[in-house]
Symmetry: C2
Subunit: 348 residues, 2 copies
């Protein structure tokens, strides 16, 4: 199949999972297996991203993508942020770490320059819509541009900005919701299937489906619903090539974790993870990204260092129970073959 | 195809839509078109349900189902209910109506007796799990029993109670969420596709998929994901056989209504509808069903009588934009034929 000018064996995209899970090894394994691997540029310095791209190119000649987080310019409720940081004091003191709620731009402008001077096949964006100028510059440099959207309205903005394709993320997805504006009513979030149906009638560019996809049946279902490819994130988290912590990998199969929820507790932005004690203790985090993400970082790292799954973000999509500890190439091949069987046999 | 012992042309179920939309005419049209029509027993007296069943049997020999709401026994926060009812005062005074927050059992025991003495092919339940004894009594009377569920845990309870099938409802669905316990974290709600995937591995009884389904592609997608049939609700709301008010029908195509959200504002139970002024004014309704449903009833009716879409519940699923004003038989036939094309051609 063709995806954005790239010839792929399977309509499968490896989700960019910022914060450690995505690695050049994982992206290379997905691309070499006939999917489209992704590097997660989020939280990396420009130099680190450059080095990861070089490493990935060393590992494979196959096409791949790079994802960037767009900086958040929204006003935050400073008093609410301060109160929230205060509420973290017990955890911070136990671990002996600092909690500083500062804003940053995630070095996005510098990383964009890296991608413009050393173009990659596909660049995707999360947490907003790049300007038409940014989209055009990347396209002129030879990249195709994908924008993560969670609603039909966001999809139209991305199309208007000149995006080549959309990554449509349902509420089922693990990790951060890519909503342009985090300060939304949670009860307006779209399920993936209804979102794909709306996009069928409202936009004409290709749509990659993301959220809860774990098996070939899921891939076939979203393709029937109009997607050109499906994105696997949580399905790859337990692979040996994934850089997710052992604490995170173990939690995905630990029976004490029975479900997921969307929370702002860890980052100040809505994201889905396994329900753990930190989430239960901190239900009312304000919308303030990346301030709260920065404030909780040392607590999250300290918790992982202690092997404690209850003090860190355990991002997971709703299908997390099916995540397997096996090489990414095997996951992609198994999901791809399962998809092909479902897809070619239809209802017969 | 066979659905619960009934031979159907299409794997399509007409959703029971309590409160007026479901009528014997609508159920008969769906059943005669080769789907499975449903009567909504919710809010009806036992006598009215009996009369609707008789009317439906007069209209068609085809199989059909009847849905009942199970009474809610949960404790409510009386002060919060009182405060909420106080907040309705302006609307109530404008319309010159009363707001009384009383509990009732929706005459469920009496309606159950109607169904036991005059058995129907299929009985479904919403808002909880019937007791194993109730399930057995209905089955002994010759009915198959379906339980509406919104999570894998609820599904397991329904299986344990002896249900013949599940109606799996994603967060995309219009109207009330059928969660057993309304007092849940909204951020734990399941998208339909992920819910179906979880049910594939966790339960062995047939699953009917509900939520956001408007087209044959949607039906094919949920069938690929493991459902045996798909439920159309919002897709039938604008049909001439639907008893939805003209205010409701018009709102579904009125461009001033741009989206849906889940709210407790109208009933004290989470339900999805078009976002209107009433929902915006009353964001913080407590979980108290049917108390709040009873308290707002006269306001909702008064608003409809005045032709005002901003004071009443405008239930709608996320795919509402595709609801068409055409006979239900045509909707079912079109969705069925579209499904068949998608299903038999697969990816080729």
């Amino acid at each position: 199949m063709d995806l954005l000018g790239q010839s792929l064996r399977w309509p499968i995209v490896g989700a960019p999972m910022a914060g450690g899970a995505s690695t050049p090894d994982l992206a290379a394994a997905v691309s070499d297996a006939g999917g489209l691997g992704f590097l997660a540029g989020g939280y990396l310095s420009a130099e680190a991203l450059d080095a990861q791209i070089a490493e990935l190119r060393r590992l494979t000649d196959a096409p791949f993508g790079v994802n960037l987080f767009l900086p958040q310019r929204t006003e935050v409720d400073r008093a609410a942020v301060d109160a929230y940081v205060d509420s973290l004091r017990a955890e911070a003191e136990t671990l002996g770490v600092e909690t500083v709620a500062r804003w940053d731009d995630d070095a996005c402008p510098d990383k964009l320059e890296v991608l413009l001077s050393h173009p990659v096949p596909i660049v995707s964006f999360t947490f907003g819509c790049p300007s038409p100028e940014t989209v055009r510059r990347l396209q002129r440099a030879g990249s195709r541009v994908v924008v993560t959207i969670t609603t039909p309205s966001e999809a139209k903005l991305a199309v208007a900005a000149g995006a080549d394709a959309l990554s449509a993320q349902g509420i089922e997805a693990g990790g951060h919701q890519g909503t342009f504006d985090d300060d939304v009513d949670p009860d307006t979030g779209w399920g993936l299937l209804a979102l794909l149906a709306a996009l069928r009638t409202e936009v004409a560019i290709p749509v990659i489906a993301a959220g809860g996809i774990m098996t070939g049946s899921d891939v076939a279902a979203v393709m029937i619903a109009g997607a050109v490819a499906a994105q696997l994130g949580t399905a790859l988290l337990r692979c040996p090539e994934s850089g997710a912590s052992d604490v995170h990998k173990s939690a995905l199969v630990d029976p004490i974790f029975t479900g997921t929820a969307i929370t702002r507790a860890f980052s100040g932005r809505r994201a889905r993870g396994l329900v753990n004690d930190f989430m239960r203790r901190h239900r009312q985090a304000p919308s303030a990204y990346p301030q709260i993400n920065n404030a909780t970082r040392a607590i999250r790292r300290g918790s992982v260092a202690r092997g404690d799954p209850h003090g860190t973000n355990l991002w997971a999509g709703q299908g997390f129970r099916l995540a397997q500890d096996r090489p990414a190439a095997e996951v992609v091949a198994a999901v791809g073959a399962d998809f092909e069987t479902r897809w070619s046999s239809g209802g017969r």
